[in-house]
Amino acid sequence: MDLKIQMQRARATSFASYTGNLGLLLLWHILHLLVRLWYFLLWMVCVLESYLISGGILKKYKALNVGKLRYLAIVVESEEAYETSKVIELLQWLEAIGVKRVCLYDTEGVLKKSKEVILTKLKNAVVYEDGYQDESLVDQIRMSVEFCSFSDGKEAITKAANLLFVKYLKLATLPGDHEEKIFTEPHMDDALKAIGGRGPDPDLLLVYGPARCHLGFPAWRMRYTEIVHMGQLMHMRYGSLIKAIYRFTTVRQNYGK
């Protein structure tokens, strides 16, 4: 008899807990529905604003000081990076705006594989060459495009670390501390340049993907880069691109000071 009552109680508790959890899950879904509704309304406002900007109706976006944007990085979600036509269209928009130096990044290296197709369609673009240190040597007329992937981030640092290790081996047997001669940020910079993994630091990074996240863009190059989420590549809009670049030109950085 007691056992029967205990079992009934256990079943009732378990049922109550199950119902409670279902109730919480339902409330969670309602909460998230409200969040998604909010983002949908925000998206509609952004689309409208983008059309107003593209149409030249919002006057403040007409005078764009593109000169301030020395290097632009575009992060594309790898699944969307297969839409080469969209990537080419984006680069054509950037060319029209006057952006000369672009870095294209996707995690899996899909854009690297499509390099030839992209450059052929762009006609007036060249691949970024590592060797260009002197600004005057950089082609002012043609657009330069750099292609990066996840392996240019952490793996490049590992390769550079091995270069520094070789230098350390040569000095480690000598008396005294030699770490400060080898393990400094400028030395890491030089090691990255030696392995071809030290492109310029982008001023602005535009993320085309579902989430606001840089997806592993090389860490060493992103110290003071402004990161802006643009939504998915398939829904890209010219007006939103202008707005992102315009907003960047109004930012003032202290660099820690």
Binding site: E108, E185, L215, G216, R223
Partner: protein, 290 residues
């Protein structure tokens, strides 16, 4: 009599607020919550200017905001919290400002060791992350004491980044990895095993095998005490990371509310968590693929 009634009404009000907050957290926890949240506490100086306060007061108000955020994080069940307290670049500020920040930090670090502090209430272990040798001795000693005092706490982890930049962290990790490899090689040579050091000098870089591996570098990162962050919140509407957790934030949701740090509140915290939950499955998939 009236003051007592006022106080008890106040207490009831805050008890109701606390109860409602816990109910909301119960709903949010119906789906997975982030394990690790990082904060860039930007906007203290702008807040002081906006409110016409004395210089340095903004940081004190910012500390109160930090305590609220930590309380929300630990109440929700977020295990790891990281905060960007002081960058190596901040040493370039005016000496008086740097000194007043160091004094404030020392005062607050010593407060953490007290029994009633938030870290002891929630069982949180404190780590100080960064190049601590750059700090003045009193601050460094206070930090070391706080780490020892909270070493046995195990319900949560608070990583306070002080004298920290990501690039400095990466170089430090590379240095530690190289020194570790050198010690391993020397030990092997001493025991007569012989490692053939000649194969690592002067050869073509493609032929040489990578002695220092990515896992070695990651193991020596200051932030190896915590998993990669799930959410990184930077206040004041600035969209850059300013040399914070660049290595660890590959698949991290970046959230940049325009509010200044001392004004950050519960609604911003909840919005950041809900944003994370919207993108969680996508980011987990990307992490698995990498």
């Amino acid at each position: 009599m009236e003051k007592r009634n006022g106080n008890s009404a106040n207490q009831i009000f805050w008890s109701i607020v606390s109860f409602l907050r816990r109910c909301l957290f119960l709903v949010i926890c119906a789906c997975p919550i982030p394990h690790h949240i990082a904060f860039i506490m930007d906007g203290n100086r702008r807040y002081a200017k906006k409110q016409k306060l004395m210089e340095g007061t903004g940081h004190r108000v910012g500390f109160v905001a930090l305590m609220s955020m930590l309380k929300y994080c630990y109440e929700l069940g977020v295990r790891y919290v990281t905060i960007y307290a002081f960058s190596i670049e901040n040493f370039k500020r005016q000496p008086e400002e740097v000194q007043s920040l160091m004094d404030l930090m020392q005062e607050k670090i010593e407060g953490l060791i007290k029994e009633e502090s938030i870290v002891n209430r929630y069982g949180v272990k404190v780590h100080f992350i960064g190049n601590l040798k750059l700090l003045s001795e009193p601050v460094r000693l206070a930090a070391e004491r706080a780490m020892v005092a909270t070493a046995n706490n195990s319900r949560g982890v608070l990583s306070i980044c002080i004298a920290y930049t990501s690039t400095d962290e990466i170089v430090h990790a590379v240095q530690e990895s190289c020194e570790e490899k050198w010690n391993e090689i020397s030990a092997l040579n001493a025991s007569g095993a012989g490692y053939g050091l000649d194969k690592f000098g002067g050869n073509e870089k493609d032929e040489r095998e990578n002695i220092v591996k990515l896992t070695d570098i990651e193991r020596h990162m200051y932030m190896a005490v915590a998993p990669d962050p799930d959410i990184l919140i930077r206040t004041s509407g600035e969209t850059r990371l300013s040399n914070f957790l660049l290595w660890q934030s590959a698949y991290c949701c970046l959230y940049c509310p325009s509010v200044l740090w001392p004004e950050i509140g519960f609604r911003h915290f909840v919005w950041a968590i809900l944003n994370f939950q919207c993108n969680r499955l996508y980011l987990e998939r990307k992490k698995k693929q990498s």
